[in-house]
């Protein structure tokens, strides 16, 4: 487990997402914004492509391994200002929580309290291989945290449970546009083959 930064958390929020490109591989992006949504740091990875052996031997745990341990943990190690909370919109990326000390939450817009969390990739968050808690409603959002760190939910409620000035799903769009720009894939807009992981 990587310890991650140990300096005092800043009044900022981290946003982690992963994109897949059919040809190039998997890209990770991490954006740190201040309380008004302005960017403080941005880190993105080079594309990662699992080999055939990994695909066979990791089986269903491949994505949590790649998104969480490989990409997520690598990105979160880079931040100069550790945030009190990292949000992700990628179901397998929640596995990063096992490798960092920062609370991590999977977030989506919730239709109503108690409904299942529909993530942007169409998966049901309750199917996070047993790693995720049941979806909880926090403000307008549905939130899932790692089973082994259920107390992360209190951090989520504290930070985004009240009035939040920014749309917490919007920064993921910025990350995707920036990854596309940085990797020169399809200009600044995500191209069709690129999908949310």
């Amino acid at each position: 487990m990587t310890g991650g930064p140990t300096t005092k958390p800043s009044a900022a929020l981290g946003f982690l997402t992963v994109l897949e490109d059919d040809e190039l591989g998997i890209f990770g992006g991490y954006l740190l914004v201040n309380s008004t949504g302005r960017p403080l740091e941005f880190h993105c990875t080079a594309p990662v492509k699992p080999n055939r052996a990994q695909e066979i031997l990791y089986g269903p745990t491949l994505r949590p391994y790649l998104y969480g341990e490989q990409i997520g943990a690598t990105l979160l190690e880079q931040t100069k200002q550790p945030p009190p909370l990292v949000l992700t919109d990628s179901t397998p990326a929640l596995a990063v929580r096992a490798h960092v000390q920062t609370p991590v939450a999977l977030i989506a817009l919730g239709d109503s309290p108690g409904t299942a969390l529909r993530i942007a990739d169409g998966n049901d968050a309750s199917l996070v291989d047993g790693d995720g808690t049941d979806p909880a409603r926090v403000g307008p959002y549905s939130v899932v945290v790692h089973n082994a760190h259920a107390s992360d939910l209190s951090a989520v409620e504290e930070l985004i449970g009240g009035s939040c000035a920014i749309d917490l799903l919007e920064p993921f769009e910025r990350i995707r546009a920036a990854i596309c720009e940085a990797q020169r894939i399809g200009g600044s807009a995500p191209r069709g083959a690129l999908r949310i992981a």
């Binding site: 914004v33 302005r38 880190h43 990662v48 080999n51 720009e181």
Partner: protein, 598 residues
């Protein structure tokens, strides 16, 4: 084959002896050939492995990935702070709390849901710079923050316009009149002030619009001090030299007059905005040359009519925006491609679906008998005179005849009869009866004077070049607020730019301007944001006259505009050539440029 016979015995009993019974059973024997196989011993193969063989080889699969390369970008946290202005210049206090942020029932900002992104222009090449734009929050969120709250919520297309201007060093905002170019430019400039990319900006506009810019700045950027460059030369020189923060507003004539003083300013302006930039379409004009000399880092041009006559108009504007980028003589389609990332052009039809409709009706007027007689005579004599000029005939001679004929189309030279006036009076009766207001445009003050006399019962007000600038605003206020005044008589020159007359429901073009873009500007004074209802535009055209022929030319000019800015129309001869003007009177140019009757 007969089978073997079988003999059976029955057990003996004490009663009587049993006699043997002969039973005949038939049995068949098959040959299987197994006899030899059964007798043959099995073959046993024995393998003796070498129990001391070397250890088997292994294959190691690279399951643990190597360290993933990560690219890092860090940003200035101080961005979008309050702008730096000197206390002495600060004309207004801090912005009032007029936040436009609206929280919806589910707790999410409504502004945040709609995301207008700031995208880097094509000419920004450094990845860090491009990402710094892409990673900014949507404009809605930036503007909803405390320092940048706006007087009212902009339309979506206006936010797009702001997002277009903000990252650009070179830009032309060419929205159709009435879409709010001024507001978009001010808010984009304000963002730059707050990001400290701009500390000192200059706005150059036509003189009648200076007060309009002051008013708009106060509304959309109240915390940024604005000063008008005016007064005697010594005062102006002092202003040019000492104003080192905030916004300066100057009219075109002053910029031409103060060329030397401006050139002597030690530090370039961070931003220069040219309003109504069609003023500099002529590259050889003194105005064009003066604004090109303005020391500056960013150059923005605002115009509703980037092309009035030919594609070279845009070349003139680009000599300020991005000198040398366009050349005269470039094909319109090529210009269209070249400027696509620099020019933003929207029309009301495309972006303001909620704007009331603009209804056009062409009033084709038969001249009165008096007018017809005068007109025919004037044209006949005029053409003869033109022909008599022979080689000395100049375009000016033709234009003089056109003016004379158009004036007859308005009023007969002798009897002052006017078929247009008769029609106008009928329309105005209806307009006044319904309590609505109308604007009547003409290119001649004399025509407006005569209309004022003949339309006295409608209490017309006058707004033209001879009305002093001091009287103009009160005239507009009177027209707006006094229900007795139903008609405003305006000249194209005075009423075509920068005025908001959206309370008028009717626009009459008593005579036609040469340029459809100028006509459009005039019409859009009434048809703009805030219009309470549909605007009806009546264009008078006297049948079988020079007006009808000019109307055809105007239509062709409209097509030229569409060719450059939409690229959808087929190519046409875009230049209003001397030949075409001569053609209005069936005059022709021979190969040597001499005229002859066609």
């Amino acid at each position: 084959m007969r089978g073997p016979s079988v003999t059976s015995w029955q057990a003996a009993t004490s009663a009587q002896p049993i006699a043997p019974i002969e039973v005949e059973i038939v049995a068949a024997v098959a040959q299987t050939g197994w006899g030899m196989a059964v007798r043959r011993p099995p073959k046993v193969v024995v393998t003796s492995p070498d129990v001391v063989s070397p250890r088997p080889g292994t294959v190691s699969l690279p399951l643990a990935a190597s360290k993933i390369p990560v690219t890092h970008f860090r940003f200035d946290v101080a961005g979008f702070a309050a702008p730096e202005v000197s206390d002495s210049l600060s004309a207004t206090g801090p912005p009032t709390a007029r936040s436009t942020k609206i929280l919806s029932a589910d707790g999410l900002s409504a502004a945040a849901r709609k995301a207008t992104r700031i995208r880097p222009p094509d000419d920004v090449v450094r990845l860090e710079d491009r990402l710094s734009y892409l990673l900014q929050p949507p404009l809605e969120e930036l503007l909803a923050s405390g320092h940048l709250s706006l007087a009212c919520q902009p339309f979506g297309y206006q936010l797009e316009g702001i997002a277009f201007l903000f990252p650009r060093q070179h830009a032309v905002l060419a929205d159709e009149m009435g879409l709010g170019k001024t507001m978009q430019a001010i808010v984009a400039m304000r963002l730059l002030f707050h990001q400290r990319q701009v500390r000192r900006a200059l706005i150059v506009c036509p003189k009648p619009l200076v007060t309009n810019w002051q008013r708009e700045l106060e509304m959309w950027a109240p915390e940024i001090p604005a000063v008008v460059i005016e007064g005697a030369q010594e005062r102006r020189q002092w202003q040019w030299e000492t104003q080192d923060t905030g916004v300066m507003i100057a009219n075109y004539e002053l910029v031409v007059r103060d060329r030397q003083e401006i050139a002597a300013v030690s530090r370039p302006f961070d931003l220069v905005i040219l309003d109504e930039s069609q003023r500099i379409k002529n590259r050889s004009s003194a105005t064009n040359q003066a604004v090109r000399e303005l020391p500056r880092r960013r150059s923005w041009a605002l115009t509703g009519t980037p092309v009035e006559n030919s594609a070279d108009d845009l070349v003139g504007i680009f000599e300020f925006v991005s000198p040398g980028y366009l050349r005269t003589g470039m094909k319109p389609r090529r210009i269209g491609r070249a400027v696509s990332d620099y020019v933003l052009r929207r029309t009301k039809d495309k972006v303001l679906t909620e704007l009331p409709p603009k209804l056009f009706r062409d009033a084709h007027i038969e001249l009165t008998p008096d007018q017809r007689e005068s007109y025919d005579l004037a044209e006949k004599e005029g053409v003869v005179r033109l022909e008599n000029f022979g080689d000395r005939l100049a375009i000016q001679h033709v234009l003089e005849l056109i003016v004379r004929l158009k004036q007859i189309c308005n009023f007969d030279t002798v009897t002052r009869a006017s078929a247009k006036l008769e029609r106008l009076e009928a329309d105005l009766e209806e307009c006044a009866a319904s309590g609505r207001k109308a604007i009547v445009f003409s290119q001649w003050v004399a025509t407006l004077d005569e209309l004022a006399q003949r339309l006295e019962r409608f209490s017309p007000l006058m707004f033209h070049g001879r009305v002093s600038s001091r009287r103009r605003e009160p005239t507009i206020a009177q027209f707006r607020g006094d229900p007795r005044h139903h008609v405003l008589l305006m000249s194209y020159g005075a009423g075509s730019v920068g005025l908001n007359l959206q309370f008028a429901s009717y626009v009459f073009l008593f005579d036609r301007w040469w340029n459809p873009a100028v006509e459009d500007q005039a019409i859009n004074r009434a048809h703009r944001i805030g219009s309470a209802g549909p605007v009806t535009v009546t264009r008078f055209v006297a049948l079988q006259t020079i007006e009808e022929r000019i109307d055809q030319i105007l239509e062709e000019k409209r097509e030229l505009f569409d060719l450059i800015f939409s690229g959808t129309r087929p190519s046409r001869d875009m230049h209003l050539s001397q030949q075409e003007i001569f053609g209005l009177f069936n005059l022709d140019l021979d190969a040597g440029g001499h005229t002859k009757a066609a």
